[in-house]
C-alpha cells in the first residue's frame, strides 16, 4: 500500500494510530502547509472541483460545487462553519469509524485545508455518541495539532484563524441528514429544515455552513498534494468517478471487511476476490449496494461497476458503497421488515407520511411474514412507496426507506404473494 494507490488507508492503523510526529513524518500536514503558504482559498476549491471529488456520504454531490456556493470575500460573514458529518449510522456502513479510529490526524488535516477553502471560522466534527474511541483519538489529535500551530489563532502564522471541536451526539439516525445535523448541533431536536435556504447560505446559527462526510473530507489533502490528474487516474479508466472508495461487505460471506479500492471496481470483485464469496453452503439472494436506504440489486447485477452512475442506471444508488449481502436462507419479508422497523423507529415524526406511513408498512410486512397478509396488502405497500417517495416528505428519510421496499416487491413479488393468508371457507352448518 502506498500513498499513490491507497491514499486514505496507507497510514491507517486502528491498533496504534500515528501521533502528530509519526503523521508529520509520513507527509502529514504537508497539505496544510502547502495550502496556507502557496494557495489562495479559491485555489483549493478549484483543485477539488477539477479532481471531480463527489460526496462519499451517500448522495454523491460534487464537493467543489458545494463549497463554491459559500459566500467569499470581504463582504462575506465573518463566521462560517465547516461541519464534518461523522454521524455514521446508515445500516450496513462501517467506513468512517475506521478512518477516525485509525487515522485521526488525517481527518483533522482534512478539516483544516477544507475549512481554509471556505474560510471557515470554526469546524465541528459531528460524531455519533457511541464512537467513544474515535472521540478520544480525535480530541487528542486536535490538541496535538493546536499545540503545533495547525489550529487556533493565525494558523501557521497566516491571517486565518480556525478552531476545531468534536461534537459528540446523543443518538438517533436523523442527525445524519445535513439540516437535521445543524439543528442537532445547535442543541435542538434533530428535525430537518426546509431548503432553501441552503446551508451554504444560512446554516449553523444562520451563517454559511458546509457539511461534508468523513471519507469525502479525507480525500482533500491528497488532492492538494498529488493533484486532480492523479486523483482522476486512480479509477484507471473504469469509471467516470474519480479517486478511491472504501468498499465493504457485510452479511454471511467468508471474509466480511473493508477495502480501499479504485472507484468503479465491480461488485463481483469486491464480493468474491475481497470478501471471499458467500459463506459455506449459502447462495447470494440479493444485495444492497450502499446501505439500508438503497434499492436491492440481484445476483445478475454483480458485474456492474460500483460507481454513482452505473448503480443508478441499474435502479439503485451507490449510497455509501458498502454492500450488505442477503443469503438465500433468508425470507425477503423478514429482511425488509427489519429495514422498515429501523426506518419507522428513526423517523423524527416531523411530517405525517413518514411518521405514520413507515409503521404502517411494518404492520403489513409483519403480517405477510407470518402468512397473515390480506388481499390488497401488496397494493397498499406499493401505494405507500409512492406516498413516501421523493417530493412527498420533508427530507430524504422516507424516500430512502421505500427504496429497499419497492425493489423487494419488484424482485420477490412471489414471496409477498405467498404471505397472503388463504381465505378460510366457512363450513355451512
Amino acid at each position: 500500500m502506498t500513498a499513490d494507490s491507497h491514499p486514505l488507508t496507507y497510514r491507517l492503523d486502528v491498533a496504534a494510530p500515528l501521533d502528530l510526529r509519526g503523521y508529520e513524518a509520513a507527509e502529514g500536514y504537508a497539505a496544510v502547509r502547502k495550502a496556507l503558504r502557496e494557495l489562495e482559498p479559491a485555489d483549493v476549491t478549484a483543485a477539488v472541483k477539477a479532481a471531480n471529488l463527489r460526496g462519499r456520504g451517500g448522495a454523491g454531490f460534487p464537493t467543489g460545487v458545494k463549497w463554491g456556493l459559500v459566500p467569499m470575500g470581504a463582504d462575506a460573514p465573518r463566521q462560517k462553519y465547516l461541519l464534518c458529518n461523522a454521524d455514521e449510522m446508515e445500516p450496513g456502513t462501517f467506513k468512517d469509524r475506521l478512518l477516525m479510529e485509525g487515522a485521526p490526524h488525517q481527518l483533522v488535516e482534512a478539516m483544516i485545508v477544507s475549512g481554509y477553502a471556505i474560510q471557515a471560522s470554526r469546524g465541528y466534527i459531528f460524531l455519533r455518541g457511541e464512537y467513544v474511541l474515535a472521540k478520544e483519538r480525535l480530541e487528542r489529535a486536535i490538541a496535538e495539532a493546536r499545540a503545533a500551530g495547525y489550529l487556533g489563532a493565525n494558523v501557521l502564522g497566516s491571517p486565518w484563524s480556525f478552531e476545531l471541536f468534536v461534537h459528540s451526539g446523543a443518538g438517533r439516525y436523523i442527525p445524519g441528514e445535513e439540516t437535521a445535523l445543524i439543528n442537532s448541533l445547535e442543541g435542538r431536536r434533530a428535525n430537518p429544515r426546509a431548503k432553501p435556504p441552503f446551508p451554504q447560505i444560512a446554516g449553523l446559527w444562520g451563517k454559511p455552513t458546509v457539511v461534508n462526510n468523513v471519507e469525502t473530507l479525507c480525500n482533500v489533502p491528497h488532492i492538494l498534494l498529488r493533484g486532480g490528474e492523479w486523483f482522476q487516474g486512480l479509477s484507471q479508466g473504469r469509471s467516470k468517478d474519480a479517486g478511491t472508495k472504501l468498499y465493504g461487505v457485510s452479511g454471511r460471506v467468508k471474509r466480511p471487511g473493508l477495502w480501499e479500492l479504485p472507484f468503479g471496481v465491480s461488485a463481483r470483485e469486491i464480493l468474491e476476490a475481497h470478501a471471499g464469496g458467500m459463506g459455506e453452503g449459502l447462495k447470494l439472494k440479493c444485495w444492497l449496494p450502499g446501505g439500508a436506504s438503497t434499492d436491492f440489486l440481484m445476483p445478475e447485477h454483480l458485474d456492474l461497476a460500483m460507481d454513482f452512475d452505473t448503480i443508478a442506471k441499474a435502479g439503485s444508488r451507490l449510497g455509501t458503497g458498502l454492500l450488505t449481502v442477503v443469503d438465500d436462507s433468508r425470507s425477503i419479508l423478514a429482511v425488509v421488515r427489519n429495514l422498515e422497523e429501523f426506518f419507522a423507529r428513526e423517523s423524527c415524526g416531523w411530517c405525517t407520511p413518514c411518521r405514520d406511513g413507515l409503521p404502517w408498512s411494518v404492520r403489513l410486512l409483519t403480517a405477510l411474514e407470518h402468512g397473515e397478509g390480506r388481499p390488497g396488502d401488496i397494493e397498499t405497500l406499493e401505494q405507500l412507496c409512492r406516498f413516501l417517495g421523493p417530493g412527498r416528505t420533508f427530507c430524504a428519510h422516507a424516500p430512502g426507506a421505500v427504496e429497499p421496499l419497492q425493489s423487494a416487491i419488484r424482485y420477490f413479488r412471489h414471496e409477498f404473494e405467498a404471505g397472503i393468508a388463504q381465505p378460510v371457507t366457512q363450513a355451512v352448518a
Binding site: S168, R188, A292
Partner: protein, 166 residues
Amino acid sequence: MIMSTATCLAPYLLHVDDLAAIEEEMRHYDDPRAASIGALKIVQKRHGWVPDAALPAIGRQLGISAADVEGVATFYNLIFRRPVGRHVIKVCDSVACFLTGYEELNAALCAQLGVGFGQSTADGRFTLLPICCLGACDRGPVLMINDDTHFNVAPQDVAGLLERYP
C-alpha cells in the same frame, strides 16, 4: 418508579464539577444552547439518568426553558429520562447484525436477563435497549455495554460477557 411531589419540587443544584464541565462545553459554541446535549450527558453521567429536577437547572445555565431542555432530552435515545440499571446494554438490531445472528443473540440476552427491550433487571444491574447500526457490520452481531463495544457476540458468549459487569 414512584416519585413523590417533594422529590419533584426539590431544587436541584448542579454539582460544582458538572457546572464547570457544562461551562467548558458552552465555550465550544457561538450559542450556549448548543451545549444542551453535552449538559444532559454530563448530568446523566452523575446519576445514570437525567432526573426531572435537573431540567430547569440545565435550562437556567443555558438560558433556555426547562421545556426546551426536555424537548431535547426526549428526542435522543442516548439520553435516559428514567432510571436505568448500573450497566446499559445496547444491542444492534440493524440489518447487517440481523443477517449475522441478532435474533439468536437477543433471545439469549432476554433469557439470561429475564427482561425485554426497554426493561431493567429487578436487581438494578442491567438495562436492555436496542440500538441502530453500530458501524462494525463486518464483525456482527455487535453490542455495547456502557462504553465498551463487543464484536462477533455469539449466544453462548452472553453469560460470560455479563459476568464482567457486576
